[in-house]
C-alpha cells in the first residue's frame, strides 16, 4: 500500500484489511473458548474417585458478576467491530465525485450497460483505469446481483427500484462479473466481464462507439415509475 490509509478511499482495499482484522478477532475468541472447553473436558473426566460433579456454589453476587462482566466484554468487542464495519461502510457508500456513471439493466440472462453518451454494451463493461465507476442498476424481470469478486462488491438489482454500486479499477486488466442472486434457470451462467483499459485506449473506443451511434432522440422513453432506494 503506497499512500497511508489508502484503504479508506477504496472499498476493495478496505475490505481485505477489515476481513483480516475480523478473522483475527473471531479466531482469538473461538480458540480461547475451545481451549477452555477442551481443558475442562480433559481435566474433569470422570474418575473412580469422583463420580459426581463438585461445582462451587455461586453466590448471587458472583452470579451477577459472571453475567455482567462477560456482557460488557462481548459488547466492547461488538462495538469495536461495529465501528470498523461502519467506517468501511462509509467508504462503500461515499461515491467519489470524480467518477464515471453507467446505467445497468439486468435481465434473464444478461447485463446490459448504457454509457452516458448512449453507447450500449452487453456483458462487457469497458472502463478506463484510474477512475471510480458507479453503476445505477435496475432489472427488467427477476432479481439479479452484480457481483465483481475482484472488487469485493455486489448489489442486487430489481424491477421498480434503482440501486447502485461503485468500484475503483486502478490497473488495466479483466475482472469477472457474475450473478449472485438466484434469478432463474440460467443463473449460474449469467456472467460477464469488466475490461479495464488504459485511459487513452478507453477514450478512443468510447468515441468510436459513440460515432457509430445514429443521432437518436436523447434519452430512451422514461422507464416505468421507479422508487429510489435511499
Amino acid at each position: 500500500m503506497a499512500e497511508p490509509k489508502a484503504y479508506l478511499a477504496d472499498p476493495a482495499l478496505g475490505w481485505d484489511r477489515l476481513w483480516h482484522e475480523v478473522i483475527v478477532d473471531i479466531t482469538i475468541i473461538g480458540v480461547l473458548f475451545a481451549l477452555l472447553a477442551a481443558w475442562f473436558i480433559w481435566k474433569y473426566r470422570r474418575r473412580p474417585d469422583r463420580q459426581q460433579g463438585e461445582p462451587p456454589k455461586l453466590t448471587p453476587a458472583a452470579g451477577v458478576a459472571w453475567t455482567v462482566i462477560p456482557v460488557f466484554v462481548f459488547m466492547a468487542d461488538d462495538f469495536f467491530l461495529a465501528a470498523n464495519g461502519w467506517q468501511l461502510w462509509n467508504t462503500y457508500r461515499d461515491v467519489p465525485a470524480e467518477r464515471m456513471e453507467v446505467q445497468l439493466e439486468s435481465g434473464m440472462y444478461s447485463w446490459d450497460y448504457t454509457y452516458a453518451n448512449g453507447v450500449k454494451t452487453q456483458n462487457e463493461l469497458r472502463v478506463p483505469a484510474g477512475k471510480p465507476v458507479v453503476l445505477r442498476m435496475t432489472s427488467r424481470d427477476t432479481l439479479h446481483s452484480h457481483f465483481i469478486p475482484d472488487f469485493r462488491v455486489k448489489e442486487d438489482s430489481m424491477p421498480g427500484r434503482v440501486t447502485y454500486l461503485w468500484f475503483h479499477p486502478k490497473k488495466p486488466g479483466e475482472h469477472l462479473v457474475t450473478c449472485a442472486e438466484y434469478c432463474g434457470v440460467m443463473h449460474s451462467y449469467m456472467s460477464g466481464r469488466i475490461v479495464v483499459l488504459p485511459p487513452q485506449e478507453f477514450e478512443d473506443w468510447y468515441a468510436a462507439e459513440a460515432a457509430k451511434l445514429q443521432p437518436v432522440p436523447a434519452a430512451k422513453p422514461a422507464a416505468k415509475k421507479t422508487k429510489k432506494s435511499a
Binding site: L18, V71, G85, L88, S188
Partner: protein, 541 residues
C-alpha cells in the same frame, strides 16, 4: 404392537415418536438431495443432469425440507413432545387431540414437500421463494406456499399447546426456576413461532396470490414492491434460526449436565440473560439478510449493531455450557460426544456469522459459499449433532433398550470428520468468490478440485448419519434392556420407567423444595425418594 394405537394416538410420547420418524425420514430425503447436488457439482459442466432446473429443484427441496421438515419438527415436534410433559411432571399435554392434529398436519406438510418429486413443474424457487422469480416461474409455487403454510400451522397449534401445558400443568413444587433449560429454550422457541410464523405465512400466501389470483403486492408496475417480500420473509426466517438454535442448545445443556453430573453453571444467567436476550433481539436483526438487496442505509447500519449484539446472549449461553463442564465428572458416551462436538462446531458456525453481520464485509460475502458454510456449521452441523445426540440420549427412555456404543461412536467420528471437510472448504471457496445456487461454475474452474473434495466429504457425512440411524433401528429392535435411568440423571423424565406408560406416572409426581433438575454435587443421587414423590410405576412392556 397395536398399530391403531400408534397412528391415532393422542399420547404425547407417541406423537413425539411419530414426529421423530417423520423428521428423520425427511432428513434422509433431503440428505439424498444434498448428495445429488454434490455429485452434480463434483465436476465442471453437466454431471448427473444437463438440466439446471433439475438441480434447482433438488436445492429447493434440500433447503426447504431440511429446515421445515427436519429440524424444526425434530426440535419443536419430537423433543418438545417427548420431553416437556415428562420434564414438568405432567401426564400429557393440555390438548392431546390438538397435538395429534399437529403431527398429522406435519405429515401432510412432508407429503406436500415430497410431492415435489412427482408432479409436473415442481417448485424451483429455493427455500426463500423470492419474487419476482417465484411469480414468473413455470414451477408450482403453490406447492411451496402450502408446504410452508401447513407446516407453519402445525407448529403454531403445537406452540399454543405447549405454552399452555407448561404454564398450567407443572408438577406441584416445580417452580419456574426449576424448569429444565431445555423446557425454557423450547418455550422461547414457541413464543418466537407464535409471533413470527404468521408473518411468513402471510408472505408466502401473497406470492401465490400474486401468481394465481392476479394481485399486485410485489408488482412495481402496479404500485407493489418486491423488497417487501424479503422483509416479511426474513422477519420470520431470522427468528426461525433461533427457533432451531434454542431447542438444540437446550438439548445440549441436558446432555452436558447429565454426563458431567454437574449443576448448570449460573442457571439464572442462562435463562434470563441468554434465552430472554435472544428472544428480545431476534426480531430486530432480519435486515442482515438484505444487506445487498438495496435496503436503506440507516436500517442496515442499525441492524448491523443489533446483529452483532446477538453474540452477547448467545455468548452467555456458551459460557453456561462450558461452565457446566467445570469441576464436573465427565463421561463420554455417544450422546456426550455429539454434545461436546456441538460446542466446538457451534463456535465455528456462530463466529463465522460475525463477519456476515458487518454490511461492508457482506457486500463481498453475501450469496457466496461462505454463507453456505456459515449456516451449515451452525445449523446443519451443530443443530443436527444436537438432534442426533439428543435421540441417543433419550433413546433408552423411549425404547427401554440400549443402542450400540461402538457404532454410535463410529457414526459420530465419521460425521465429525466429514462435516469439517465439507463445510470448511465451502467457506474458503466462498471467500474466494464462489456464488451459491450455481448448477455449474464455468467461471470458476479453479474450484473444481475443492468441489471434488467436498463431494467426497459429503459421502463420509452421509455414511456417518446413516450408521447412526441404522444403530437406532437395530437398537430399538434388539438392544439390551437399558434400565430406567442409565445415565444417573436427576431430571424428572428419568424417574418413570422406560418406556413410560400412558399417563407417565400412576399419579403425577410432586417435587420438594430441595430438588432441582441439576442438583448434582450435593452428595445426593438421582433416585432419592426424599426429594421426589414419584410412586412406583408398573411396567407396561
Amino acid at each position: 404392537m397395536n398399530l391403531k394405537e400408534w397412528i391415532f394416538t393422542t399420547d404425547h410420547k407417541r406423537v413425539g415418536v411419530l414426529y421423530l420418524i417423520g423428521s428423520i425420514a425427511a432428513f434422509g430425503v433431503a440428505g439424498v438431495m444434498a448428495m445429488l447436488m454434490r455429485l452434480e457439482l463434483s465436476q465442471l459442466g453437466p454431471t448427473l443432469t444437463a438440466n439446471p432446473t433439475q438441480y434447482n429443484i433438488w436445492l429447493y427441496a434440500h433447503g426447504a425440507v431440511m429446515i421445515l421438515g427436519f429440524q424444526i419438527p425434530a426440535l419443536t415436534g419430537f423433543f418438545a413432545n417427548y420431553c416437556i410433559p415428562l420434564m414438568i411432571g405432567a401426564k400429557d399435554v393440555a390438548f392431546p387431540r390438538v397435538n395429534a392434529l399437529s403431527v398429522w398436519l406435519f405429515y401432510v406438510g412432508i407429503i406436500l414437500a415430497i410431492l415435489t418429486f412427482f408432479i409436473p413443474d415442481p417448485p424451483d424457487v429455493m427455500w426463500t421463494g423470492y419474487p419476482p422469480y417465484s411469480i414468473l416461474t413455470t414451477g408450482n409455487t403453490a406447492l411451496y406456499t402450502f408446504t410452508v403454510l401447513i407446516l407453519g400451522f402445525a407448529s403454531i397449534i403445537g406452540g399454543v399447546n405447549f405454552l399452555t401445558t407448561v404454564v398450567y400443568m407443572r408438577a406441584p413444587g416445580l417452580t419456574w426456576n426449576k424448569l429444565n433449560i431445555f423446557v425454557w429454550c423450547t418455550l422461547a422457541a414457541f413464543v418466537l413461532q407464535l409471533i413470527f410464523v404468521p408473518v411468513l405465512g402471510t408472505a408466502v400466501t401473497l406470492i401465490s396470490f400474486d401468481k394465481y389470483l392476479g394481485t399486485h403486492f410485489f408488482d412495481p408496475a402496479r404500485g407493489g414492491d418486491v423488497l417487501t417480500y424479503q422483509n416479511l420473509f426474513w422477519f420470520y426466517s431470522h427468528p426461525a434460526v433461533y427457533v432451531i438454535f434454542l431447542p438444540f442448545f437446550g438439548v445440549v445443556y441436558e446432555i452436558v449436565a447429565t454426563f458431567a453430573r454437574n449443576r448448570v453453571f449460573n442457571y439464572a444467567m442462562v435463562v434470563y440473560g441468554g434465552i430472554f436476550g435472544i428472544v428480545a433481539l431476534s426480531g430486530v436483526v432480519w435486515v442482515h439478510h438484505l444487506y445487498v438487496s438495496g435496503m436503506a442505509d440507516w436500517i442496515r447500519i442499525g441492524q448491523m449493531v443489533t446483529t452483532l449484539l446477538i453474540s452477547v446472549p448467545v455468548g452467555l449461553m456458551v459460557i453456561g455450557l462450558v461452565g457446566t463442564l467445570y469441576k464436573g465428572a465427565i463421561s463420554f458416551e455417544t450422546p456426550m460426544m455429539y454434545a461436546l462436538g456441538v460446542i466446538f462446531l457451534f463456535l465455528i458456525g456462530g463466529l463465522t456469522g460475525i463477519p456476515l453481520a458487518l454490511p461492508s464485509l457482506t457486500l463481498h460475502l453475501s450469496d457466496t459459499y461462505y454463507v453456505v458454510g456459515h449456516f451449515h456449521y451452525v445449523m446443519a452441523v451443530a443443530g443436527t449433532f444436537a438432534i442426533f445426540g439428543g435421540v441417543y440420549y433419550w433413546f433408552p427412555k423411549i425404547t427401554g433398550r440400549m443402542y450400540s456404543e461402538f457404532w454410535g461412536k463410529a457414526g459420530f467420528w465419521l460425521t465429525f470428520v466429514g462435516v469439517n471437510i465439507v463445510f470448511w472448504i465451502m467457506m474458503d471457496v466462498g471467500v474466494k468468490g464462489m456464488p451459491r445456487r450455481y448448477y455449474d461454475y464455468a467461471q470458476f474452474p479453479q474450484f473444481e478440485h475443492a468441489h471434488q473434495i467436498m463431494t467426497f466429504g459429503a459421502g463420509i457425512i452421509g455414511i456417518g448419519f446413516a450408521v447412526a440411524v441404522i444403530n437406532w433401528i437395530v437398537g430399538a429392535m434388539r438392544g439390551k434392556p437399558a434400565g430406567d435411568n442409565p445415565w444417573g440423571s436427576m431430571s424428572l423424565e428419568w424417574t418413570t420407567v422406560s418406556p413410560p406408560p400412558h399417563g407417565n406416572w400412576p399419579t403425577p409426581p410432586s417435587v420438594s423444595e430441595e430438588w432441582h433438575p441439576y442438583g448434582y454435587g450435593d452428595g445426593r443421587v438421582s433416585s432419592d425418594e426424599a426429594i421426589l414423590h414419584t410412586p412406583d410405576v408398573p411396567r407396561v412392556s
